[in-house]
Structure formats: C-alpha cells, structure tokens
C-alpha cells in the first residue's frame, strides 16, 4: 500500500526536479530544437557553468545564481565562436550529420578531461543561505535547494519564451528554424541569426550550471547523465516548442522521482532512455511538435 504523503512528496519533489531540468534543457531546445544542431556538448557547458559558480562562490563569496548570471556574456561569446567553427567546417560543406556529431562529442570530451586535469574528480559544492533549510506545508516538504533552482528555472524559461515569441530577433530565430531559404530571400543573414541563437543557447548553460551545483555536489563526469535526459525532454516536448519542452521536463522529473522513491535511486538514469525510446517509437514529433 502506497502512502498518500509519500506519493505526494515524490510528485512534489519530481515537479521541482523537472523545473530544474527545464533550465538544463532550454539551451538544447534552442540549439537542437530550433537550429537542428545536435549539440551533445551542452551538458559539458553546464558543468563549466557549475565550476564557475563554484570558483566565484568560494573565492569571492558571491551568490551562485548571480555568478551564473554574470558568466552568461562569456558563455554567449564562446557559443558564438563554437558556432563559427561548426558552420565553417561542417554546415557549409553539408557534413553536419557525421562529422558535426563527432565534433561536439570531441568538444564534450575535451571539456571533461580539462576539468578533471585542473580540478580532479572530487565533488565540489557551493554555500548559500538556501542550500540548507526546508519549507514545510503540512506533510509536504519543499527543500530550498530544490525550490530556488525551480523558481530561477521558471524565470529563465519564461524569459526565453517571451524573447523568442515577442522580439524581432527571437522571431528571426524561429524563422530560421522554419524556412532558412525564405529568410534569406527576405534579406536576412541566416548564419548571423544562427550564431546569435547558438550563443544564446550556450549562455543559458551558465545559469543552468549554477543551479546544478546548488542542488547537489558536482564533478566533471556528472554532465554525461544529462545528455540522455535533455534530449529526451526536447524530443518529448516536440522540436522547437518551449512550452512543450517545459511540460516534458516536468513529466520526466515526476517520473524519475517516482522511480527513485518506489523502485530505487540506482534505476533513475534509465528513465530518460525509456521516455526517449517510447517517444521516438510512438510519436517522433513529440507532444507539441512543429511538424
């Protein structure tokens, strides 16, 4: 017999976890969902964000989320540069399918190895007022270290959604996703727009990274567990749909939390793969797909 409060707590924890997943997945929802660039190095950039938050937090005592926010311009520039290389080497020559994938795989690997060489494989963590402490409503517990990332993530997702749907540049990004040639005929430069969008996607990784290290300690190879998760979220949500991505993130978070509570934490990593395979097999366009 499953007790009501255990079940409720698992669902609430899953909602909070899923909200955080949205922050990690939103960068991929832009780069993969809108631009069709299979950036499997995205979680590696998130881990870099975590380490920046860690360094700034321990050296200067700054708030981790603020540190993540301050790092976004640098991430934007790095992302734009990575897209430049990607465009020149693969997209222009039409080799993005094989070589482009292997390229991002190599980038992911280099980031991970450099972090291991510099910081070792020890777990790192940050300290802030909200990394300990819990809000309780009756039998429902809301740990602050989950609640803060949840709130920040909703703010981030909302901001990106507003940006993509309301501003000129945001609409241009969506136009690139829909019809590149038509955009070119309108006199816009798709490469510049994609470069900007890719930078934007990588910039979100700085904030997601700071949230990741608030939730729990981080070491360089943690990022790999997120590859399956965020691709499952973006595919389930439907390519290019930000709202769909957010709902899919919540679904994955809740399912993972239920599996952790009732089956065992060591089974949680398999959930994302199950969701991904089911989506690909049953409904490849996702819940809110653009096709």
């Amino acid at each position: 017999m499953v007790s009501v409060d255990l079940f409720t707590n698992a669902v609430v924890a899953g909602l909070l976890l899923g909200g955080f997943y949205a922050a990690v997945a939103i960068g991929l929802a832009i780069t993969f969902g809108q631009l069709d660039i299979v950036n499997i190095a995205h979680p590696a950039f998130v881990i870099v964000g975590s380490y920046i938050a860690y360094i700034v937090n321990t050296r200067l005592g700054l708030d981790p989320v603020l540190a993540g926010l301050l790092a976004t311009p640098f991430f934007f520039i790095v992302g734009a540069l990575v897209y430049r290389v990607y465009y020149a080497a693969f997209e222009r020559t039409g080799q993005e399918s094989l070589s482009g994938l292997a390229f991002f795989f190599g980038v992911m690997f280099i980031i991970e190895v450099v972090l291991i060489l510099v910081y070792g494989v020890d777990y790192r963590l940050v300290s802030a007022v909200y990394t300990v402490g819990t809000l309780s409503f009756g039998f429902v517990d809301l740990p602050l270290r989950m609640l803060v990332p949840f709130v920040v993530s909703i703010a981030l997702t909302g901001a990106i959604w507003l940006y993509l749907s309301r501003t000129f540049m945001g609409r241009a990004i969506q136009a690139v996703a829909q019809d590149r040639l038509a955009l070119q005929l309108m006199g816009a430069d798709p490469v510049r727009i994609k470069q900007f969008a890719f930078g934007l996607g990588i910039a979100t990784a700085a904030i997601a990274g700071s949230l990741l290290i608030i939730i729990g300690p981080v070491e360089p190879s943690v990022g790999r567990q997120y590859i399956g998760r965020i691709f499952a979220i973006v595919v389930l949500g439907g390519m290019g749909s930000i709202q769909g991505m957010f709902i899919a993130a919540l679904i994955l978070g809740i399912v993972e939390s239920l599996v952790t509570t009732f089956v065992g934490p060591s089974w949680a990593p398999a959930v994302a793969f199950g969701v991904l395979l089911l989506t690909l097999g049953l409904r490849p366009s996702g819940l809110f797909g653009r096709q």
Binding site: I40, G106, F109, G228
Partner: protein
Amino acid sequence: MKPAVFWSSLVAALIAGLVFTEVGQNDYYFNAAYVVLQALIMAVAWNILGGFTGYVNFGSAGFFAVGAYTTIALNKAFGLPLPLLIAAAALVCGLIGLGVGYLTLRLKGVYFAIATLAMAIVIETLVNNWAYVGGAKGSYMLTPETHLWFDSYIKMLFMVMLALALASVAVSRALSSSRLGRGLAAIRDDEVAAECSGVPTLRLKLVSTTVMGAMMGVAGAPYPFFVTFVDPVSAFNLFIAVNSIAMPMIGGTAHWSGPVLGALLVGTAQELITVTISSELNVLLVGIMLVLFITLAPQGIVGLARKYLGRRLR
C-alpha cells in the same frame, strides 16, 4: 589492394605474431599490443556503421562492456572456454545492435546517435543493479591455468586478439568491397536516392549495426581475462567510445584501411605517451586530435595520402 596481397599480408601478420610470442621476453609488450589490437577491433567495428553508412554510434563502450559482462556471467555460471564466450558475446551484442537499430534507424540519423549514447547509460544502470556480476562493486576474474603451448597467459591472449583483429579487418574489407558495401556507401551519400534506386536501406543498415555490435562484443569478451578485475566504471569508460570514434576519423572513414591505420598509429602513440608522459595527457590529446582532424582533414590520413600521393603519381 589486390586479394592475394591482402590475404598474404594477413597470414604474414599472424606468423609475425606467433614468432613474436616465441621471441618476446617482456610481458609488457604483449600487454601494450593487446590494448592496441582491442582498440583496432573497436575502430574497425565502429567504421562498419559510422564510416560505411554515416550513422554515428556513441555507445561503443556499451557494446564493449556487454561483451565483457557476457564473459563474466557465462564464465561464472557454466565456466565456458574462451572461444565459446567470445561467440556468446558476439551473439548478445549483435542482437542488441539489431534491437537498437530496429527501434531508431527508421528515424533521422541524429536520433540513432543519441539513442546509442543513452543505451550505454541504461545498460550501465542495469549492470550496476545486477548483483550476480558484481554490481557497482565490480567482480574479479581468475586467470586460467592453461595457456596452450604459450609461455604465459598474456601471450595466448595476445594471439587470440591478433586473430580476432585480423578476422575483423577481413570482414570489414569483405563488407566494403561487396554488393552490400556499395549499398552502404549509397546510403551514406544520399539515403533517399538510394531508397529510390531500390537499395533496401533499412535492411542494409540493420545488417551493419548487427555486425558492428557483434564485433564490439568480440573485442570486449576477452577483456575480463586481460584485466582480471572489471567494474562498470572501467568497462563503460567514455574513453573507449572516444577512441573508437577518433581512430577511424583520424585514419579516414571511407576506406576499410582507415580505421586500421588510425588505430595502429593512435594506439601506439597512446601507449608511448602513457608510459613516457602521463595517461591524463594522453586522453586529452586524443580529444584534441579528434576535433582537429574532423575540422581540418575530414577525410583522415587516408584522404590526405590520396590527395598528395595521388597528385605526385599523376
């Protein structure tokens, strides 16, 4: 390469290996050669799908580890001899390759790549939770007493690996130069056009994922006897996956000789760097070489050689 030249060089390599086991004294050389040959099989296997058809497999380490764990499980349960263990690993991994391919190959190649990556993580989760083969703690493997007519067990293992590597090269060459290989090349160049010309694309892709999986299982099957201690972290090491992508990419993916060349060069360089400098630097170097080769020389060493030597010959 003419068939006669190809087959006689395979036989020559086998004989050279046998002579080496009689002459060689230091076991380190056999250890190092084993590692290079293991990487060579992985690279050749990856190239059967990645190079010939253009579908990227990120989950090489998963197939490799399934091969290793098949050995552990069957050895613990029935104490089977090594050749049977290798055959069983080939069967299991071939079926996994077929299954993953069947589920995802109908979609865009991107999804196949992501699915293989996720598959490796899921299989790792399964193994972590499977107490019979040691779970997350890992399991020990006793080195068998018998080693045929060789002086030591590692020498025998080296010869086994050499024979397997030569066999995989032969299979890869046979695939690439056959009717099937031309079908695979057609898929790589333009899948829609291939389908329209009557190439049974799905069936060919399934054949190549199955062969790839089986070969990677074969590479992993003797691994527990080689290291004598296997845990999920070492068996599912990302480095195995990176190596099996980097070696064909550096050697050249379009031709069967590319991964062989890449594996021999990169593998030997890795052994030298690990001994003389450090193993971490070696790992970093492979990543950097992979990215540099993909961006600057997408055809690999074989492509570069064709470009420059071909010009001189003309």
